[in-house]
């Protein structure tokens, strides 16, 4: 069942925040949706792609976030409502376009959904996207519940058209990935007709001077502020003159309500929940601030709301002062994700109350038992993961070469190449495509005596997203490095979304494959293709490439993600360890296969003191057969 097939207004559904956002867009009658996948935003486009045919939408996985934003803007310019979604890192990629788009404005509703990842649960940073709304003078909305995620998205299209500009909706992991009760509205059945009006003034900043357009943005802000003053997305609960006023937004709303309930403080604490966080509804906030002397700001990542509230306070009635609690005061940490307990403790501290989660004896006993009995579960490549064997070949080739080769990394499952799973081979990891740019730069340091080899790994989806310009940079500047494309046929980390190297698009339509080899040939880059399961062959190819210095070279390590494959096919081999031949602790400085190679399908059997296969985990790839120095691991073809 899909969200669009539930075409029964006023019924309740248990929707994930991202599904609610998608539903809100359908109720607003969007025609186009575009994104590059990124946790925690990916399900928005995934959900819309599923219903593209039945709702007459055009939905695409774009090559990167900047292009996604441009594709969505094209629809808006041409009389069709559009939604663009991305995670916080993606916003940086789209920002160059967005910081011009705000000046030219748009035509039909254009909503940019940015899903931040406080705590960096699935990200390399925990950047706060809200600063962009303030920097670009664009309206910002922050939903606090699944219901609001839907309702706000629908309304954001109205607001976007009202001010003829982009409206930004900022979600966070706990909104996007939580499921909650949502009352559905009506799906829009308005006919869409795309048409670009060539008689209007061009969408270009230089037509009028940028400062003049900037001025218009400011005037827009005043209008938005006025609209926000009476927005139903802002509300207050609590006594008329609260001892403490919590001002919060997004995920902070539920945590605040919970804290007040748990501390039995409903009579002394009020909560002003804001859904419209830039520009701030000044009069509304002033009204509530004048009823109290103590304010606690609850929000995630940066003190964005906190800083803006203090700005407002500075311009209020002379002589009025407040004590602000929040990130600056240390009541809420300035980093990491919020939790119910962080907020409970902050409220307790502001009210001078004592709060303990559990009775001290239970607390102590439970902590002791967890410490004694619960082993850690560290991140790892799956059984049969082709990345493991590529990293194994890289490790071996660099060791044989002996010149302290430097491997730069990128964003994806293979980021685990930083740890034991990838044999600690990766030395740098930043943004998508950055590993290639860094390799290009490092490969030009020979005039300063740099004589180490430079290698870079990037995934197939990353290659298209941002590595190509860096590779071209390397070609043009004749930099010495090897780009290893870990081609596992999909955007594995975020849920196997297609990309230009795959033969279907977001909507499931067949499309031609853009193959990486041909692209490299066109750049006059020498390409070698290898199967990472062939560890010896891959190592030899790498060694050969390491010898031929001169300019960028590409090794495509191609093998489908083992997770995708296991969903479709049975394992090819039954693997067993022959205990007569396994020498256990005597092997390769102690348990070579389990301790060093570390495939989760290989386990150490404490009783026999030999390696053993865990058949519930083993993917049957058979690679360990070639790794075992004793030839103790055997494979048998499964018919």
């Amino acid at each position: 069942m899909t969200i669009a097939s539930r075409d029964v207004p006023k019924t309740t559904q248990l929707l994930m925040g991202n599904e609610a956002i998608a539903r809100g867009a359908l109720e607003a009658g969007i025609g186009v949706a575009a994104a590059y996948p990124g946790t925690p935003s990916s399900e928005i486009i995934g959900t819309l792609a599923q219903v593209a045919k039945e709702r007459n939408l055009y939905v695409e996985w774009s090559i990167n976030e900047k292009v996604a934003m441009e594709v969505a803007a094209a629809a808006s310019f041409s009389n069709v409502r559009a939604l663009c979604a991305m995670k916080q890192n993606g916003l940086n990629v789209a920002l160059d376009f967005l910081s011009n788009l705000n000046l030219t404005g748009v035509n039909r509703g254009l909503v940019l959904v940015v899903c931040d990842d406080p705590g960096g649960i699935s990200s390399t940073n925990e950047q706060d996207s809200r600063h962009v709304a303030k920097a670009l003078d664009l309206p910002l909305l922050e939903p606090a519940t699944s219901q609001e995620a839907k309702d706000m998205t629908t309304w954001a299209f109205e607001l976007s058209e009202e001010i003829a500009n982009v409206c930004i909706l900022r979600s966070v992991t706990r909104i996007s990935h939580a499921r909650g009760k949502v009352v559905l509205g009506e799906l829009s059945n308005v006919e869409k007709h795309a048409y670009f009006d060539i008689s209007r003034k061009p969408y270009a900043t230089v037509v009028e001077t940028p400062p003049k357009l900037h001025q218009a943005l400011y005037q827009n802000l005043a209008r938005i502020r006025e609209i926000y003053e009476s927005s139903p997305f802002n509300w207050y609960i609590g006594p008329e003159n609260p001892e403490l006023l919590i001002i919060t937004c997004g995920s902070g709303w539920f945590y605040s309500v919970e804290a007040v309930r748990i501390l039995s403080a409903v009579n002394s604490v009020g909560i002003l929940k804001l859904g419209t966080t830039w520009p701030l509804p000044q009069k509304l906030i002033e009204k509530h601030m004048l009823q109290t002397k103590k304010i606690l700001v609850v929000e995630e990542v940066d003190p964005f709301l906190e800083g803006n509230l203090k700005e407002l306070a500075a311009d209020m009635e002379p002589g009025r002062t407040w004590t602000f609690y929040g990130k600056a005061s240390g009541h809420i940490p300035s980093f990491g994700e919020n939790t119910p307990n962080i907020v409970i403790n902050a409220v307790a501290k502001a009210l001078d109350l004592k709060y303990t989660t559990r009775d001290p004896e239970y607390q102590q006993k439970s902590q002791e038992m967890v410490k004694r009995y619960v082993p850690p579960r560290e991140p790892q490549f799956c059984a049969g993961c082709p990345h493991r064997t590529t990293f194994w070949a890289i490790k071996n080739a660099l060791k044989l070469d002996g010149r302290e080769g430097v491997l730069t990394g990128d964003i994806g499952c293979y980021g685990m190449g930083l740890g034991s799973s990838g044999f600690f081979q990766v030395r740098t990891m930043h943004a998508m495509g950055s590993g290639t740019g860094i390799a290009s730069g490092m490969g030009k340091l020979n005039q300063f005596g740099f004589n180490q080899l430079v290698l870079n790994v990037c995934g197939d989806s990353t290659f298209f997203h941002a590595a190509i310009p860096a590779l071209i940079n390397g070609v043009h500047n004749q930099s010495h490095f090897i780009l290893i494309v870990l081609d596992n046929s999909g955007t594995a980390m975020t849920g196997f979304q297609p990309h230009p190297g795959i033969n279907i698009n977001a909507m499931g339509d067949p499309v031609p494959i853009l193959d990486i080899e041909s692209l490299c040939y066109a750049l006059d880059v020498k390409v070698t293709v290898t199967d990472p399961y062939d560890i010896n062959g891959t190592t030899e190819k790498l060694l050969e490439m390491l010898r031929n210095e001169g300019k960028p070279r590409v090794l495509i390590s191609r093998r489908e993600c083992a997770l995708i494959k296991s969903r479709r096919e049975k394992p090819p081999y039954k693997i067993q360890v022959n205990h007569d031949q396994c020498i256990g602790e005597g092997c390769g400085c102690d348990r070579f296969c389990t301790r060093v190679f570390r495939c989760p399908g290989l386990i150490w059997d404490r009783e026999s003191r030999k390696a053993r296969i865990d058949e519930s985990i083993c993917s049957g790839c058979g690679v360990c057969v070639d790794v075992c120095p004793q030839s103790a691991i055997v494979r048998e073809v499964i018919e």
Binding site: V374, E378, P379, I603
Partner: protein, 204 residues
């Protein structure tokens, strides 16, 4: 036995990525929503989604929507698909009144599988869980699932076991209807069987 009087009811379903705890949380959530309850489901991850610990928080209330995360020490029920994961959750969310229903089949973490860490004896884990909870139901869900044809069915056995305890205000029939609405025809029968096998372990 029932904890109907508690509001909200905080149910935490824990296990290893891939064991299917999220599916249980959705099925329970859908049934409760149908009955007019407010339901919120959140998730917490351990070190990794690739073979790491995963927990779904299901928060059920008659009166209002709650946040997606349970405050520490406030779990009413912990449903564990793996024994040390049940203990891990008790360490954060447990209290003396917490009920636990746990699968007893261990899944060894990497550090244990490669011989760098120890996995405790089952009796020790059981003793710890029992000491930290009001009542525990131990189920060999993986064994039942394997007998039914696949270890992956353990999640439905455990869902049945949860419903069988009667702790939650929901009916077996409503759950079976939800299963029927959620599974494809070819996998429905065996999943219903797994649910029922789990249910009869705990119902009396």
């Amino acid at each position: 036995m029932s904890i109907h009087g508690r509001d909200p009811i905080n149910l935490i379903i824990t296990g290893i990525g891939g064991q299917g705890n999220i599916l249980i949380s959705r099925l329970i959530g859908e049934v409760m929503l149908e009955d007019g309850y407010w339901v919120t489901i959140g998730e917490t991850y351990g070190a990794s989604q690739r073979g790491g610990s995963v927990a779904s928080h299901v928060r059920i209330s008659k009166s209002t929507q709650h946040g997606p995360l349970t405050p520490e020490g406030q779990a009413d029920i912990i449903l564990g698909l793996e024994p040390v994961e049940s203990l891990r959750m008790l360490g954060i969310y447990g209290n003396p009144k917490t009920y636990v229903i746990t699968n007893i089949r261990p899944i060894h973490p990497m550090a244990v599988a490669i011989g760098e860490a120890e996995y405790p004896e089952l009796e020790k884990i059981k003793q710890a869980i029992s000491e930290l909870s009001q009542k525990v139901w131990y189920i060999d869900a993986s064994e039942i699932a394997i007998r039914l044809g696949s270890p992956l069915l353990a999640n439905m056995v455990m869902m049945g076991a949860l419903v069988g305890t009667g702790l939650l205000p929901l009916k077996k029939e409503a759950c079976l209807q939800q299963l029927a609405a959620s599974f494809k025809e070819e996998s429905l029968t065996v999943n219903m069987k797994a649910f029922t096998m789990g249910f009869i372990q705990n119902s009396s």
